[in-house]
């Protein structure tokens, strides 16, 4: 992208920089197709979890109602929901051609996502200590596969955002980098969408 124009004056910055080029439009449509595929992936994991919930081989295994702590799930939900809003701010500043603020809000998104991930690791460590592991029961396998796949997506998103911040730090904003930031924001919102279903179906309906 040697001929790409960076730090465009605002009069010539398009209203929708992320889809101002053919490449940006392709990225946009392609990424929505990817998200539909991700929906099917998470749907099969949710279906497995719903089918195998509380399926344990003997009475000494812990069930969903014994395991889950609502306060922890609540704090995690708030962290991820807020990080979704901060990536909205990043896209807002990207469209307003304000590179510094876009970078700042992306950074805040990464910090909130990292805090969420830390809590999830803490949760997994605690559950394994209680004897609820990936191999202890069908319930354990379904639980860790579902939450773990979501956690893996969070890790990928964090690496993605960090690389975007570092890679764009020197070159600034162009219609090429704007499309990348917008794609990341879509991904991050989708992770939050999946989490909304996880906290509802796994945690809230688990303790009822």
């Amino acid at each position: 992208m040697a001929n790409m124009e960076y730090n465009v004056p605002t009069e010539r910055w398009p209203a929708h920089p992320e889809t101002a080029t053919q490449e940006g439009q392709n990225k946009f449509v392609g990424f929505w197709i990817f998200l539909a595929g991700e929906t099917a992936l998470f749907a099969s994991l949710f279906a497995t979890y719903l089918a195998l919930k509380d399926s344990v081989p003997s009475d000494d295994h812990l069930l969903a109602a014994d395991l889950f702590h609502l306060p922890l799930a609540f704090v995690m939900t708030m962290l991820l929901l807020t990080s979704s809003l901060t990536s909205v701010y990043a896209v807002y500043h990207m469209r307003n051609n304000n590179f510094q603020k876009m970078q700042l809000w992306l950074g805040i998104t990464v910090l909130l996502g990292a805090a969420f991930l830390a809590l999830e690791i803490y949760e997994f460590v605690e559950y394994t200590g209680l004897g609820h592991t990936f191999r202890s029961s069908a319930f354990g396998s379904a639980f860790y596969f579902l939450i773990g796949t979501h956690g893996f997506h969070v890790i990928v998103g964090l690496i993605w955002a960090t690389l975007l911040i570092l890679r764009n730090a020197k070159r600034g904003l162009s219609v090429y980098t704007a499309a990348k930031v917008n794609t990341f924001a879509l991904y991050w919102h989708f992770i939050d969408v999946v989490w909304v279903f996880i906290f509802t179906i796994v945690y809230l309906l688990g303790v009822l």
Binding site: R12, W13, P14, A36, A43, A73, T77, L81, S84, V196
Partner: protein
């Protein structure tokens, strides 16, 4: 390949765009407030068990769907023009999502021994 061919905009056009974006930001903040509110209600209903579980379950699931629609339409800009493909693909995704959940739960249910 990916050049910028945007005609320079006048001051009035820029001002119009900025106002539009500010208005959109306000809508997004309102939907964020709604999401937080729905999360509070969902956790509150479950934790305090003020109403029976058979009412809480559909309510909480309904709140989740409202939150997801807000997320798609306002945070992911699905309300804007040019999202017909996105809508088509996400609806197909959700169709399969619901079908998977129903079939998996059903097959375990009919496989369960009758007491």
């Amino acid at each position: 390949m990916a050049e910028l061919n945007q005609e320079p905009m006048t001051k009035a056009q820029l001002e119009y765009l900025r106002r539009q974006r500010t208005r959109e930001m306000r809508q997004q903040l309102v939907s964020f407030g709604l999401m937080i509110f729905l999360t509070f209600i969902a956790f509150g209903l479950t934790a305090m068990e003020v109403i029976p579980a058979q009412f809480t379950i559909p309510l909480v699931l309904g709140f989740a769907f409202i939150q997801v629609i807000l997320q798609f339409y306002y945070f992911m800009h699905m309300k804007d023009n040019g999202h017909q493909f996105a809508k088509l693909f996400m609806m197909t995704g959700f169709y399969f999502a619901i079908a998977f959940c129903v079939t998996f739960v059903y097959i375990v249910w009919i496989g369960a021994p009758v007491n």
